[in-house]
Amino acid sequence: MATVAKIGFPAGAVRPSAPRIWFTAFALVWAVAFAAGLVGLAQRITEGHRPADYGTYVTWGLWVAVYQYLVVMAAGAFLIAAAIYLLRLKALQRVAPAALLLGIVSLLAGMILVLLDLGRMERFWRVVLAPDWSSIIAWVVVAYMTFLVVSAAALWLVLRPALAERSREQGLRAGVARALVFGRRDVTAQARERDLRTVRLLMILGIVPAIGFTGGEGALFGVLGARPFWNSSMFPIAFLAAAVVTAGAALTVLTAFFAPGHSGDKHDVVQFLARLTLFALGVLLVLEFAEYSIGLYASLPAQEDAYGEILTGDYWWSFWLIHLVAGAAVPFAILALRGKSTAWLGAAAVLAAAGVFTVRLNAVIPGQVIPQFESLRDAFSDKRLDFQYSPSSMEWLVSLFVVSLAVLLFYVGYQLLPVSGARPGEQPDIRPGTSGATTLDGGQ
């Protein structure tokens, strides 16, 4: 009970549950997306890479962009959780377990997608068991593993008191709790304080791999001297800003539309998350401006052409309309004009997250559409030797599959674990001693 009260849901003043209509609409969209995604997955498994539109010249396509979006979001979610525990942001403690779960699920989904992007999936183990440490990818994979272990341990410690209490109940969720509590049922204040100290330590430990692989994702591009557009130290930093935007947006949407409680009750949390998201978006825009203006003023054609491709090429609208107008200007306007409405803030977060998706695409694709030699364009005619790229239906469907799988995993985790204190679409249970209200609350 104490937890709920502290984060802005006054006990006794609990309003009707989160609007069921959001949940139903979302579930319908999800079901269609997942079914379509399965078709794409079947095509990928049976036909390999052949139905893809990427080739040899534009060899990293949509999947790499979506994969990076997901893993960067994972890092952002962890960093937000770390900030909550280390800076003792009590108002946000309720979202911390969800942030940790989001981090784990999002990273797993990203890894699944990049696995599907490999030419030889069955050899993926080589990166883990026989890596070459001169490659950034090898380090990034180590960071993924460490991140998963640290996040899982932290999530377990955070949920342990609630799991211990729930394990005494009946039903599926109690069974899951019994399986996961590993016999540690001590929920005394001292035990929780001890857990909290460990969680803080894990947060400090986890920051290293989280920042490491986010920066590493940027550095994958940044270190490529052969590609003037990518060869920039701005990439790793911009990826960090994008991490906070995407994770902040996801948590805003989750809290605004799906977390239990009336929108009025959770408004403070949503507003804080939305502000954080848009602050990070502002930082991202400043970094982008620095990068684009310097790149364009440098007057190096190989670099200039890539920026030209983004600003005026075939997909100009993705930069100007989706990223800058819908993904930045509109969310800032919403914050300024409709900042008191939880639903509007949720909508602003959706737009900001969509805008950052085009940032990811505009990092991956334009770096490859400028030929190493202009005459390479026409040197040999083949669909794989083409500097034009537009994702095939299989690429879209497989991406959809992975994203909807991530949503499913998150939902299952959210349902089975006491992450939120109550299931989405339900009224939060704030009676003392019930599992829902007893997530780790900072030892308060």
């Binding site: 060899t59 070459d132 994958l220 190493q372 083949d382």
Partner: protein, 315 residues
Amino acid sequence: MQKSSRRKLLRGALVAAAGGAALSVGKVAAIENGPGPAATTALRTKNLAGALRERGAAREPFPRPAPAVLPATQPLAAAQAAVGTPTSAVARMQEELVRAMAKPMEQRKWAMGIDLGKCVGCSACTIACIAENHLPPGVVYRPVLEEEIGLYPNVTRRFTPRPCMQCEEPPCVPVCPVNATSKRPDGVVEINYDKCIGCRYCVVACPYGARYFDFGDQYSDGTPAKQPYEESHGPEYGRDWSRESVEGVVRKCQFCLHRLNAGMLPACVTTCIGGATYFGDRNDPDSLINELEASGRAFRLKEDLGTKPKVFYLL
């Protein structure tokens, strides 16, 4: 060119034209080939070696002897006597190849020179490479870049064959997360098709666009049946690669290592109708490739990147 080196060159060419190159094909094949590749590959390489020797003898002499002005009525034998015994760059390179293969691998350094003044842009090398290495659609180790230079009426076309540069400092190597690509002691950058996971990081890291992802495409895609040639095995690295075994990995030119091991020049060198492609051991001070590289006409692509390509061009 210095007189002494010209003499050496002529001497070498004469030896080669007399058939010296033919002597060691079998011997060299035994040096490094080992018992590995399929008998068919060995048979084929031997036949090719024979064809190569015949072609070498009929080739344009190198260096070109002073043109002889012959009376129209002079019989052919007299004409030949007037120009001297035909010498051949190919035959000389063949001879040098044998010499290089007799050394331990770390003592030779392969290099390739392409004379842009001689390349006629026929793409015979491109196709020979595709045939030699059994390359599927979309994998082309040696495309020929074409450019139009100048303004009418002063216009010309420049043809630039672009194999893998076998960089001395290859940016494609350190990025590989599984150590599937490496630089051999003889300077050739190889890919281990058994290890490659197909992440394509090396593809984006190559400044020359010289790496290709094998999507598993077939020439017969969209037709009722697969053709027998699509089932045949590729000979790269002296191994026997089924079509499936190289699907989903990254591939590139490796200077026809399997042919070198059999004492044969790379397919692009022997096929070049313009005689524009040279190949040899840079560590051999008497080699033709060394002479050409020191000719003052040599340049490399994107030299400023510091990748130190072992493929150079002659202007």
